[in-house]
């Protein structure tokens, strides 16, 4: 079947017919509770060459909206009403077979997760060629040449070699480039980018977004950018649509939405987004207290080696890292994936023995602890994990989870334990009614509060937060950060904050160490590091924080 409509190949002419016009779209899912509508009355337009950002938190319906456009809803999803007009033609009721004629050629998709979106048993070249073959773009030879051209165009070095490689041989950023090559192969009029960089490091994210921008200008393609990150939207979009609970809260030109937000929710999002909101005054109040030279954590020349591939080869994950953290302050360890920041944290908590170097926590030398002493030491330092879905035992109730650490040390009478659990739950802002529930009945933010409560129930001196807010939505993230700050003020806690997100680090830390490939490339007070980065890498990291381009538009500064 040939497409019954003629969709103009994307051109640079800025006509006023929108490439995509969604009007009154309603989408729902069938589930255990019957049919549930998750997208209500969504209307938006994307004009040629324009970037429209669909912004919202998890569950806001942004991905569902994008999937409905391209006809890729999950099996139990249904487009209930409304129109999806592609260059004026309503494609909302089209069969999957009919949609196939325009998928890839008129609309294409850049998926979120580059690791699971490529077929692991086929070469990169084959997978890029596939879209060309489906739409019959010339002979085998022509296609091969075009594949190499595309791979080169998306900035992959040695495209001939890449075409012969398999996905596992490429890094995350490279795979995302391959997916972009597939998306642009037929010069579609519209590209839907569903969180294209959420799984990537910030410097890689910046390069990928730059690439999408560049290709958009070159081809005149319109982009529907789905993202949870208001900073990314602020930098890249002409037009922002804010979604919450499946309804549009606000839409308009980027400058207007950021400069004078009309809805309460947008204002809240703007205030909570670490990269956009004002630099908090949280740590300003603190500097007065940190007069005493009292170090809670001292790390000296920490080295951590791992043996890989038998016992011969040695991989040095952490290479000569040193820093000290004053009591009652927050020290951040910043780096991209593979920089050794989590390894450093695990050594400090005592989960692994360092290859060399010294670590002292609250005056105790961690490196020499074993057995019962190590177990006793755990009262002083606690770790909060990144993923609150994995760090709580699904079979325990919240009460059992929070109570458990108390059972591990000197016996505490039952009533005292219960009292302590109730108190700590109040402390982290959870209602007492959650005590009898199990983790699966709580939201991500609530679970992270439970994890913090479990960590605090032993009255530790030091809390290590390993990407503890990275998995959370911005508003929840802001709440948890506020909670952490409040707890620090009240209990005099020392935080070791592991993060890849410099914007968050800037908000809550006093001092920072920047790691790259296991080496410490920069360090010192947060303001100093941000003002005078000590290395090119730090500068690159800082400039990669999204949301800086249109900084002048921000209402809070």
């Amino acid at each position: 079947m040939t497409a019954a409509i003629s969709i103009e190949p994307a051109s640079t002419d800025v006509s006023n017919t929108p490439v995509l016009e969604i009007s009154n779209l309603a989408v729902g899912y069938r589930g255990g509770e019957g049919f549930q509508r998750v997208v209500h009355e969504v209307s938006l337009r994307v004009r040629p060459g324009e970037v429209v950002a669909l912004v919202g938190e998890s569950g806001s319906g942004k991905t569902t909206t994008a999937q409905a456009v391209i006809g890729l809803l999950a099996e139990n999803g249904r487009l209930e009403s409304g129109a999806v007009r592609l260059n004026g033609t309503d494609i909302a009721g089209w069969s999957p077979k009919r949609l196939d004629t325009i998928r890839g050629s008129k609309i294409s998709l850049i998926p979120q997760d580059p690791t699971s979106s490529l077929n692991p048993v086929r070469t990169i070249g084959d997978q890029v060629a596939e879209v060309l073959q489906i739409h019959r773009q010339g002979s085998r030879k022509q296609i091969d040449a075009r594949v190499i051209e595309l791979l080169a165009r998306v900035g992959l070095s040695e495209p001939e070699l890449r075409a012969r490689q398999y996905p596992h041989e490429l890094s995350g950023g490279m795979r995302q480039r391959v997916l972009i090559a597939i998306a642009i192969a037929l010069r579609p009029a519209l590209i839907i980018a569903d969180e294209p960089t959420s799984a990537l490091d910030v410097t890689v994210q910046k390069r990928i977004l730059d690439l999408i921008d560049e290709l958009r200008r070159e081809y005149g393609t319109a982009v529907l950018l789905v993202t949870h990150d208001l900073g990314v939207a602020a930098d890249r979009a002409n037009h922002i649509v804010v979604l919450k609970g499946g309804r549009i809260q606000e839409q308009g030109p980027t400058a207007d939405v950021l400069g004078s937000p009309r809805s309460e929710y947008t204002r809240k999002l703007l205030a909570d987004a670490p990269s956009l909101g004002k630099v908090r005054s949280i740590h300003r109040t603190r500097s007065t207290r940190t007069g005493a030279s009292d170090d809670a954590v001292v790390v000296e020349n920490l080295v951590q080696d791992f043996s890989v591939g038998g016992r011969r080869e040695i991989f040095r994950a952490v290479d000569d890292v040193s820093f000290t953290v004053q009591r009652g302050t927050t020290h951040a360890i910043v780096g991209e994936s593979g920089s050794g920041k989590t390894t450093t944290a695990r050594s400090i908590v005592g989960f692994q023995k360092p290859s060399s170097g010294r670590i002292r926590v609250d005056g105790i030398d961690v490196t020499n602890l074993r057995g019962e002493d190590l177990r006793r030491f755990r009262r002083t330092i606690q770790l909060v994990y990144q993923n609150p879905f994995a760090s709580l035992d699904p079979r325990q109730t919240i009460f059992q989870i929070v109570e458990e650490p108390l059972l591990n040390f000197d016996p505490v009478p039952r009533e005292d334990r219960a009292k302590k659990v109730h108190a700590i739950l109040d402390r982290v802002g959870l209602p007492q009614s959650t005590l009898t529930r199990k983790p699966h009945a709580l939201s991500g933010g609530q679970r992270q509060r439970v994890a913090i409560a479990r960590a605090l129930v032993l009255d530790p001196q030091v809390l290590v937060l390993d990407e503890a807010v990275s998995a959370l939505d911005v508003t929840v993230q802001a709440q948890i950060l506020a909670l952490l700050d409040e707890l620090q003020q009240a209990l005099g806690l020392t935080y070791l904050f592991i993060s890849h997100d410099l914007a968050v680090v800037r908000q809550i830390s006093d001092t920072v160490s920047v790691l790259r490939d296991g080496r410490q490339v920069d360090g010192g007070r947060v303001e100093d590091v941000f003002r005078n980065p000590g290395s090119a890498y730090t500068r690159e990291l800082i400039s990669a924080i999204p949301g800086q381009r249109n900084a002048s538009l921000r209402p809070f500064q």
């Binding site: 035992d393 650490p405 591990n408 479990r454």
Partner: protein, 303 residues
């Protein structure tokens, strides 16, 4: 017996689910589609499986409720009668009622299967847990032993064990149980290794938990679900294997009713009295299929 307990527990849970979903269906019957959905959610196949299992268990526990005939004493002149109103499934060469023999045989076959699964479950899971939590050399030693056990054909292994222990239904059951130790050990070990790597186990150690506490509180409860589902699957397999041993003459001695033995005895009369082999065979098949279906649903509940 742990296996029996677990199955009883999951029986209750399954019933609760069914009650819940049917009452939910009653609350809002708005369309035919919802009715259909409710029906599908009850899963008639699974219901049938539970029904078959329940009947077999009742046979085993209270055979006198179902038949008044003796399973061992025959009536002269009533040999090889075809199924009739008097003898629903006919009689065998000694004039014994076949239905009575099947019903009384359920006890032997089922208790044999439970013993077999119990042996495998307890020994195998223990080995697996020790291997999975100790790691290192102990793990290596145990798992290589398990590999050796797996490399011997199961029937050959159980025959050898029966010959060592002597004939009899209990010994046959133990023999069958021993051959399943390896599979239980492997499964338990992989589950323990999976759970051990999870953040919540590390967090439990991190909050000062001793090894035995963490094992008891987190690792065991989270890794045993799959093991229990596998035990239900093994139950069907054990009934089949014990019947095989019985058929070959390594199980219960002749007057005792046992399903495998019934099939073997009937074999000689297959031309004149087809029901003597066919009906016990069908009963074995139905029971095994039911056990498999139930085990499948247990595995799904976990996910």
């Amino acid at each position: 017996m742990t296996g029996l307990n677990a199955i009883g527990r999951s029986l209750l849970r399954d019933d609760a689910d069914i009650v819940k979903s049917s009452s939910a269906g009653k609350r809002r019957i708005s369309s035919g589609a919802r009715w259909l959905k409710t029906l599908i959610s009850i899963q008639p196949g699974l219901m049938l499986a539970w029904f078959v299992m329940a009947v077999v268990v009742l046979w085993a526990l209270f055979p006198q409720w179902f038949t008044s005939y003796s399973p061992t004493v025959g009536v002269a002149r009533q040999q090889l009668r075809a199924p009739s109103a008097e003898h629903w499934l006919g009689t065998d060469a000694l004039g014994r009622d076949l239905l009575a023999r099947i019903i009384h045989g359920a006890g032997n076959s089922l208790s044999g299967a439970f013993v077999a699964v119990g042996v495998g479950l307890v020994l195998g899971t223990t080995l697996g847990i020790v291997a999975g939590s100790a790691r290192g050399r102990i793990d290596g030693a145990i798992m290589r032993g398990v590999d050796v056990l797996l490399s011997i054909p199961q029937l050959l292994l159980s025959l050898s064990i029966v010959i060592l222990l002597g004939f009899g239904i209990l010994n046959a059951a133990i023999a069958v149980g021993v051959t399943s130790i390896a599979s239980f050990a492997r499964l338990a070990r992989s589950e323990v290794v999976r759970v051990r790597a999870s953040d919540y186990v590390e967090a439990a150690f991190g909050s000062g938990g001793t090894f035995s506490r963490v094992l008891w509180r987190h690792i065991l409860p989270n890794s045993l679900t799959s093991v229990i589902a596998f035990a239900a699957l093994q139950l069907g397999w054990a009934i089949l294997t014990i019947s095989t041993l019985g058929f070959l003459g390594y199980g219960a001695p002749p007057p005792t009713p046992e399903w495998g033995l019934l099939i073997a005895e009937g074999r000689n009369y297959i031309a004149r009295a087809w029901w003597l082999t066919t009906v016990p065979g069908l009963v074995v098949i139905l029971t095994v299929l039911s056990a498999n279906r139930i085990s499948q649903s247990l595995g799904k509940n976990k996910a």
